[in-house]
C-alpha cells in the first residue's frame, strides 16, 4: 500500500510561527552581535568584529569556557551512568519499586533555585550536613568549605546537578527498557549468558535510542547551566565557577547588549560544534527493532 503524503502547505502555519519566533530573532541576534548595542547609547552602530576581538582577549571567557565544558562533560557522563544504573535497578521486581522511582525522580520536579538554596545549607562548612556527617564517622578532617574553596566549588555544583537530573535520565532509560522484548534476554539467559553479557550485548544496544536522547539533552542542557551556579556560588568565589550564562548575565546587566549577544553566539556555536557530532555518532549505533 502506498503511503499517503500530506501536501507541503499543511506545514506552513507551523513553519511561519517557527520562522517568526525562532529563526528571525536568532538571525537578528547574530546581527546585533556585530553592533555596539548598549542600553545607555542613543544609537546602535555596526562595529564589525570588535565585540569578538574584545571577547577573545578577555580572560573571563577562557574561565567560562573551561568551566562550562568541564561541567557539561561531568554531568553528561555521570547523569547517564547514575540514571542507567537506577533504571536497571528499578526495572527489576523489587518491593516498593514505584515509591523508589518517585523518590529518584523527585529532585527533577523541584525548581533548581530551591535545590540550590537547600544545598547551600547542606554544604555549609560549619553547620552543613556534609561536614557534620564526615565528623560523625570520624572523617572530620576531610571536611571542606565546599562552595567557597575554588578546588571544590565546581565539583560541588556538579554533584548537586547530578543529584537533580539523574532521575530524569532514569525515567527515559526505564521507558527504553520497557520496550526490550523479554524473550531476548530470557533466551540469552537460558543459553547461559551472564547478567553483564546480557546487558552488554542485548540491553545496551537496544537502549541506543534512549541513550541518544539522554546524552544529547544532557550535553545541551548542561552547557546552558545557569540557575544552579547562580544560586550556589554566583560564579564565585571570584570568577572560579564562572560559566557562560553567568558571564552573559554579568555583561547583560551592564547594559552591553551587543557584547552579551556576541558571547551568546559563541555559546551557540559551541553547543552546535559539540552537539551535532555527538548526535551523529550516537544515531549511527541505534538499532532498529
Amino acid at each position: 500500500m502506498e503511503r499517503r503524503k500530506y501536501p507541503l502547505y499543511f506545514s506552513f502555519p507551523a513553519l511561519s510561527v517557527f520562522l517568526l519566533f525562532f529563526i528571525a530573532p536568532t538571525l537578528i541576534g547574530v546581527y546585533y552581535s556585530f553592533t555596539d548595542w548598549n542600553v545607555n547609547a542613543d544609537s546602535i552602530r555596526f562595529i564589525g568584529l570588535d565585540n569578538y576581538k574584545a571577547l577573545f582577549g578577555e580572560p573571563r571567557l577562557g574561565k567560562a569556557l573551561s568551566n562550562t565544558l568541564i561541567f557539561a562533560a561531568a554531568v553528561t557522563l555521570l547523569q547517564n551512568a547514575v540514571g542507567l544504573g537506577l533504571a536497571l535497578l528499578m526495572n527489576e521486581a523489587i518491593r516498593m519499586r514505584n515509591l523508589f522511582r518517585t523518590i529518584f525522580f523527585m529532585p527533577y520536579v523541584i525548581a533548581p533555585i530551591v535545590i540550590g538554596y537547600v544545598f547551600r545549607a547542606i554544604y555549609h562548612p560549619e553547620h552543613g550536613i556534609v561536614n557534620e556527617a564526615l565528623g560523625w564517622i570520624g572523617l572530620g578532617s576531610l571536611g571542606q568549605d565546599w562552595l567557597n574553596d575554588p578546588k571544590w566549588a565546581l565539583f560541588s555544583i556538579i554533584l548537586t546537578d547530578i543529584w537533580r537530573v539523574a532521575g530524569f535520565a532514569m525515567v527515559v532509560y526505564l521507558a527504553g527498557l520497557q520496550f526490550i522484548p523479554k524473550d531476548l534476554t530470557e533466551s540469552a539467559s537460558i543459553d547461559g549468558a551472564s547478567y553483564w553479557r546480557r546487558f552488554r550485548h542485548i540491553v545496551f544496544p537496544l537502549l541506543a535510542a534512549s541513550f541518544t536522547v539522554n546524552v544529547l539533552l544532557s550535553v545541551i542542557g548542561s552547557m546552558k547551566v545557569f540557575e544552579m551556579v547562580m544560586v550556589l556560588t554566583d560564579g564565585g568565589p571570584g570568577y572560579t565557577t564562572e560559566v557562560f550564562y553567568t558571564y552573559i548575565r554579568s555583561t547583560f546587566s551592564m547594559g552591553q547588549m551587543g557584547y552579551s549577544t556576541a558571547i551568546n553566539l559563541v555559546l551557540f556555536v559551541l553547543v552546535t560544534v559539540v552537539g551535532v557530532p555527538v548526535l551523529m555518532a550516537l544515531k549511527k549505533r541505534e538499532v532498529e527493532m
Binding site: 542600553v39 515509591l99 522511582r101 523518590i103
Partner: protein
C-alpha cells in the same frame, strides 16, 4: 502495589506543591499594563479611592521594611489602596531593577540607592517621573539634601530615610572583655584586634560569600585616606577618566591593609563562607568584636537582639587614619522613584506625598531611627548614631565615593572574593580600575 503507588502519587504532588510555592509568590500586580497617566499627580493628599488598587513597592532585602509597612498600613486605612512589598536580593538589586525596566515590568514604586548616578543607570529622562515642580514634595526636605538630587534642573528621585553611615561597628561588651577602647589611629586598630583575638573572640567578620560586605572596608577607608590625598579635584578626574584608580597609591594601600588583616588571622575562620546574616548573629552573640559595615546592621541587630542591645552594646568609629580617628563616611538617603509607565503611577505619586506628610515621616523615624533629612522631624537616635552625628557636626564626615562618581565599581565584589583567595594586590587593583573604566565606557560617559 496499590499502596505504594498511592504513596508515590501523594509524594509527587507534595513536592510539586512545595516547589511551586517556593517559586511563586509576590507577583500579583506588578505587570506593566496600560500605563495610567501620572498627570493626576497633582492630587493634594491621599483620599479614599473609589476602586482600591494594589501598588507594588520594591525594596532591597538589606533594608528593614518595618517602618515602610507601618506607613503603608496607615495609607491603606486612609485610601483603601494596598501596598504589596517586594524585597529583592540586595546583591543583585540593581540588575533586577534594570532587568524589570528592560522588560517593561515596572514596579509602581521602588526604593533606589542615593545619588544622581542612578538617573544614568535607569535612563531616568525616558523612564521615571520627574519631581522638581511637584507640589507637596519638597516643603520639608532639607535643602542640601534636595540639591544633591538635582541634575540638569531635573529630579527623578525623592529622598527618603536618613543620612546613612558606614564604618566600623563594634560590640562594646567584647571591647570591655578584652579591655580595649576605640582606636586612636590605624596601628592602634590592629593592636586592638590582636588583643580581642587573644581574649578568644574573633576580631573582624567579613561576609565574603555574600560578596558585597568586603567592599565596605574600601569605601570607609576611602574617605579617611584616599580623599585627603586626591581631593575633590581627583574625584573630578576620576569622573572624566583623567585619573586611573590603579594610579592612586593610597587606594592600593587599602588592599595592603586588608591583606594584612587576613594574614594576621584577624578575620573569622572560613572567611570565604561568611555571610551578612551570620555576621549579625555572631556579632550579637559576642563572638565577633568588629565589622566594617553599613548602618543597615542597626535595624537588623535590633530585630534579632532587641533595642536594648543596640542601645547599650553597639558602638561605631570611622576607619582610622595613620594619625587620627579618621573621617566618618556618610551616605545620602535612599530615594523613592516612580516609573512613568507603572500601572499605578498616579497612585504611587500620591503615596509618596502621603509618606512625606510630617506625621508619617515621624512614624517612619519612630520605627527606623536615623539622622533625619526632613525639617522639623525628630528621631530618637541610638548612641551608635549619635557617634556619627558628632563627626558630622564637627565637619569630619564625607559622602561615600560611590555617590560622587557616575561610573560604578562594577564586579568589585568579585574582585575582592578573588583577592581574599589569592592575595594578589596588583591584580586586584588593576581589575578594579579596568572594570570602573569599562562601566564608564558602557554608560557612554565623556572621557571613557
Amino acid at each position: 502495589m496499590r499502596k505504594s503507588r498511592a504513596l508515590a502519587s501523594v509524594m509527587v504532588l507534595a513536592v510539586s506543591a512545595a516547589a511551586l510555592a517556593a517559586c511563586g509568590g509576590g507577583n500579583g500586580n506588578n505587570n506593566a499594563g496600560g500605563a495610567s497617566s501620572p498627570a493626576a499627580s497633582g492630587a493634594a493628599s491621599a483620599k479614599p479611592a473609589k476602586d482600591p488598587v494594589t501598588l507594588t513597592f520594591v525594596i532591597s532585602n538589606t533594608e528593614d521594611t518595618t517602618a515602610f509597612t507601618k506607613i503603608f498600613d496607615a495609607y491603606q486605612q486612609k485610601t483603601g489602596n494596598k501596598v504589596e512589598l517586594q524585597a529583592l536580593p540586595g546583591g543583585d538589586y540593581d540588575n533586577l531593577i534594570k532587568t524589570r525596566f528592560s522588560t517593561q515590568d515596572f514596579p509602581d514604586l521602588f526604593l533606589m540607592q542615593p545619588g544622581t548616578k542612578q538617573y544614568v543607570k535607569l535612563r531616568a529622562d525616558e523612564t521615571l517621573h520627574e519631581w522638581s515642580n511637584e507640589a507637596g514634595v519638597w516643603d520639608n526636605v532639607i535643602d542640601s539634601i534636595k540639591q544633591a538630587q538635582v541634575q540638569d534642573d531635573k529630579i527623578y528621585g525623592v529622598p527618603y530615610g536618613s543620612t546613612g553611615m558606614m564604618g566600623v561597628f563594634y560590640n562594646k561588651d567584647v571591647f570591655a572583655k578584652a579591655g580595649v577602647n576605640p582606636p586612636t589611629n590605624y596601628a592602634d586598630l590592629v593592636e586592638i584586634a590582636k588583643k580581642i583575638k587573644a581574649a578568644g573572640v574573633t576580631p573582624f567578620y567579613e561576609g565574603v560569600k555574600d560578596a558585597w560586605p568586603p567592599q565596605v572596608f574600601y569605601y570607609t577607608g576611602w574617605v579617611t585616606q584616599v580623599d585627603p590625598a586626591i581631593g575633590d579635584e581627583g574625584v573630578a578626574k576620576l569622573n572624566s577618566n583623567a585619573l586611573k584608580l590603579s594610579d592612586i597609591p593610597e587606594l592600593k594601600d587599602l588592599f595592603v591593609k586588608q591583606k594584612e588583616l587576613k594574614a594576621l588571622g584577624l578575620y573569622q575562620d572560613n572567611v570565604m563562607s561568611g555571610t551578612y546574616d551570620e555576621m549579625q548573629n555572631e556579632f550579637g552573640e559576642g563572638k565577633v568584636g568588629m565589622t566594617f559595615m553599613l548602618d543597615g546592621i542597626i535595624s537588623q541587630l535590633e530585630k534579632k537582639f532587641g533595642k536594648d542591645f543596640v542601645a547599650k552594646s553597639v558602638g561605631f568609629f570611622p576607619f582610622p587614619s595613620a594619625t587620627d580617628t579618621g573621617t566618618a563616611m556618610i551616605t545620602p538617603p535612599n530615594q523613592l522613584m516612580v516609573p512613568d509607565k507603572a500601572k499605578h503611577a498616579a497612585e504611587a505619586i500620591e503615596l509618596v506625598k502621603f509618606m512625606l506628610q510630617p506625621e508619617n515621616v515621624d512614624l517612619f523615624y519612630a520605627n527606623k531611627p536615623g539622622i533625619p533629612i526632613f525639617k522639623g522631624a525628630t528621631s530618637e537616635l541610638y548612641p551608635v548614631q549619635e557617634d556619627v552625628k558628632k563627626y558630622i557636626d564637627e565637619g569630619k564626615s564625607k559622602v561615600n565615593i560611590q555617590n560622587r562618581l557616575t561610573p560604578s565599581f562594577v564586579d568589585f565584589s568579585k574582585t575582592l572574593q578573588n583577592f581574599f583567595l589569592d592575595g594578589n594586590i596588583d591584580k586586584a587593583i588593576k581589575e578594579f580600575s579596568d572594570n570602573y573604566q569599562k562601566d564608564g565606557k558602557a554608560k557612554v560617559l565623556a572621557g571613557f
